[in-house]
């Protein structure tokens, strides 16, 4: 569904992505894990067209999108849920959601609206309760849910989730991951970027480990959890010698 090939990207003179190649198949949840500054968020921004690539190709359903404007990729059904939620604080929850379907044709917006809201409220009952409240007054977890819900309003074929658990209490984060699982069960393809490797690996089908702009590992969640590199980087274990016990 999504095929990223040899993608490099820079911030000024600093190379952040070094020929990254990976793919996401239809219906898969793939997580991309890595430490601070590994290039995870940049990679998502590059895919959705916010950040330019310096080389390489990105194909979404066989269509090359590396030169596309972000608004075009959204129309293709590739939606990013940004880090730090980025919701419109002064608008109500409903208004935020309505904006999510902005990219759809007017007629469709109207036709879809009620059923779409219904679906979203089943997925996030709390948003129904808070429908008339200003988004800025929601808690962190609720804001994150709103952010995801807003993306869902555009009826995405694939979701790019950037650090959905950032800054959330563990219980709330768990709720977010529960939703992620549900979305997958509904057939949404998801690329999930997370620092919380353990949680991310629990919900995904496959994962990649990004380190200093390079992919150094690919595999099933079980494999990655067992990998010493993942353990060292994310679970705080260290090793110095090959024969360390």
């Amino acid at each position: 569904m999504l095929r990223v090939k040899n993608v490099s990207a820079y911030y000024g003179n600093i190379q952040v992505l070094r020929r990254v190649t990976f793919h996401v198949k239809q219906g898969e949840v793939v997580s991309l894990i890595g430490g601070n500054g590994a290039g995870k968020s940049t990679l998502l921004n590059v895919i959705s067209g916010i950040h330019p690539t310096s080389s390489g190709t990105i194909a979404f359903e066989r269509q090359e999108i590396q030169k596309q404007e972000p608004n075009k990729t959204v129309r293709l059904g590739l939606l990013q849920v940004p880090e730090q939620r980025q919701i419109f604080n002064s608008m109500t929850v409903t208004e935020n959601l309505e904006l999510g379907s902005y990219c759809l044709p007017r007629k469709e917006q109207k036709r879809m609206a009620s059923s779409q809201f219904q679906e979203i409220y089943t997925l996030f009952p709390i948003l129904k309760e808070r429908a008339r409240q200003r988004a800025g007054t929601l808690s962190g977890g609720e804001q994150q849910m709103l952010s995801i819900a807003r993306a869902l309003m555009a009826r995405p074929r694939m979701l790019l989730l950037d650090e959905p658990s950032l800054g959330l209490a563990p219980l709330v984060a768990e709720e977010i991951f529960r939703v992620t699982r549900k979305l997958r069960d509904n057939g949404t393809t998801i690329l999930l970027v997370e620092q919380n490797a353990l949680a991310a690996l629990e919900v995904c089908d496959r994962g990649y480990v990004l380190e200093a702009g390079r992919i150094i590992l690919e595999g099933s969640p079980e494999d990655l959890l067992e990998d010493d590199e993942v353990q060292r980087a994310f679970l705080g274990r260290d090793y110095k010698e090959k024969w360390e016990r």
Partner: protein
């Protein structure tokens, strides 16, 4: 019609396969660069960064890795994970002569079994089959792979190891074995023994022969198929990666399908290590794409072969390699054990430093066991008392046997009899 073990991967269109290979190659190079000093140094000397690889063709910019590189970094220099992640070690039968150790992580072992299971299914082996594994479990650790892969696909294993041909035949009859996994040489010996014992082919149930590690010539294949009434298939492996399992024949018998999602094969010029055009004959160099424990980049296997990526009627898209019947180095095989002439020279020097000239005779016998003979010239000023001669020959024999794990015939003779073959390997029929 043929069944698949992992149809999706085995029939992946070549274009998609190439994408998958590139993705995995980059991971392999990134890991090699980050974790293995040997590769990092090599990259740095070349001013090469893993991200300089844009396509599979760019791989040719890197030099080949040779067995000597592995030996120089013995034991753990080329491991890319700490030992606690390694679940299996495999080392050469003669660690003192050519020290080599390869490590496999849990995932590596699983991948190995997976490719082996694919090959077995491709040959038509299934749950109803009884696989008689007549490999030496002691010296050839690959023998276990037959067991585990057979269990994985649900077949039954009868590990007969190195029991004599007579016993093999008896077990074959009693258990009704349907598959024989062994070397072509031993299979031929079993066939001969069966004829000698006068056992009718109708009393055996064999239908498939799974042969390795040596490749069989078309003539040997024909004779084995006739004399054992089987379909004979070759399975290929590389000792430093997976052996057996890297490639094997399907029922079309027109080349060995390489498990290309795990191994990237190239045919290179043995001198320059540059890739040759497809269809040209050259040395097989392999890059591992998924190995975690012991990644190898453009490893020279020493086997001479060709590659063919044209579609195979069986539907598998993995490139097909011709059975490798020759080598680019002097390595030769006796009863399934690879021996390098340098090893023999070194062992001889250790056992009897006074010996100056010798030659190695290899008698390849399709039917009976191969024989390795060492013809040694009497040392200078040697007093040829019979007990002396015996003691010297015994010393050499015992030493070689211990190191190689193989009985060697030792013959002492006048230097003039060695003619021009001093230090060389002579093949006799």
């Amino acid at each position: 019609m043929s069944a698949f073990w992992n149809e999706k991967v085995e029939t992946l269109p070549r274009e998609e396969l190439a994408d998958l290979q590139l993705e995995r190659l980059q991971v392999t190079l990134n890991r090699g660069y980050a974790k293995v000093d040997f590769y990092r140094q090599r990259f740095e000397e070349l001013g090469f960064l893993p991200e300089d690889i844009n396509s599979m063709e760019d791989l040719a910019r890197l030099p080949c890795t040779t067995v000597n590189d592995l030996v120089e970094h013995y034991p753990y220099g080329l491991f890319s994970v700490p030992l606690k992640s390694i679940v299996r070690l495999k080392f050469s039968a003669a660690p003192r002569i050519r020290p080599l150790v390869i490590g496999y992580t849990q995932r590596d072992v699983q991948n190995w079994l997976e490719v082996m299971a694919r090959h077995m299914i491709a040959m038509g082996i299934g749950v109803r089959d009884i696989i008689q594994v007549a490999f030496n479990y002691g010296l050839f650790t690959g023998a276990f792979t037959f067991n585990h892969a057979a269990e994985l696909i649900g077949a039954t294993v009868a590990p007969t190891s190195i029991a004599s041909a007579t016993i093999q035949i008896q077990i074959m009859q009693d258990f009704r074995s349907t598959v024989l996994a062994t070397s072509p040489t031993f299979a031929m010996h079993i066939a001969e023994t069966r004829e000698r014992l006068g056992i009718d082919l109708d009393q055996t149930f064999l239908r498939i022969g799974l042969f390795g590690p040596e490749a069989m010539s078309p003539d040997v294949r024909r004779r084995l198929e006739e004399r054992l009434r089987i379909q004979a298939y070759t399975v290929y492996g590389v000792n430093e990666m997976v052996e057996p399992g890297m490639a094997a024949e399907c029922q079309e018998k027109s080349g060995l399908h390489v498990a290309e999602d795990h191994f990237y094969p190239e045919i290179v010029d043995p001198d320059s290590c540059q890739p040759l055009a497809q269809g040209q004959e050259g040395e097989l160099a392999v890059t591992t794409l998924t190995n975690e424990g012991y990644p190898l980049i453009r490893f020279r296997t020493g086997d001479i072969t060709t590659l063919d990526s044209s579609p195979c009627p069986c539907g598998r898209t993995g490139v097909r390699m011709a059975p490798p019947l020759s080598r680019s180095d002097d390595l030769f095989m006796v009863r399934g054990i690879s021996i390098h002439p340098e090893q023999v020279k070194r062992l001889l020097g250790e056992a009897a430093p006074e010996v100056e000239s010798y030659r190695i005779i290899v008698r390849k016998r399709d039917g009976l066991n191969d024989q390795l003979e060492l013809q040694v010239a009497y040392p200078e000023n040697y007093v040829s008392e019979w007990y002396h001669t015996h003691a010297l020959a015994d010393d050499i024999r015992a030493h070689l046997r211990r190191a190689l794990g193989l009985g060697v015939k030792v013959k002492l003779m006048e230097a003039s009899n060695l003619a021009e073959d001093v230090g060389r390997v002579v093949f006799e029929d």
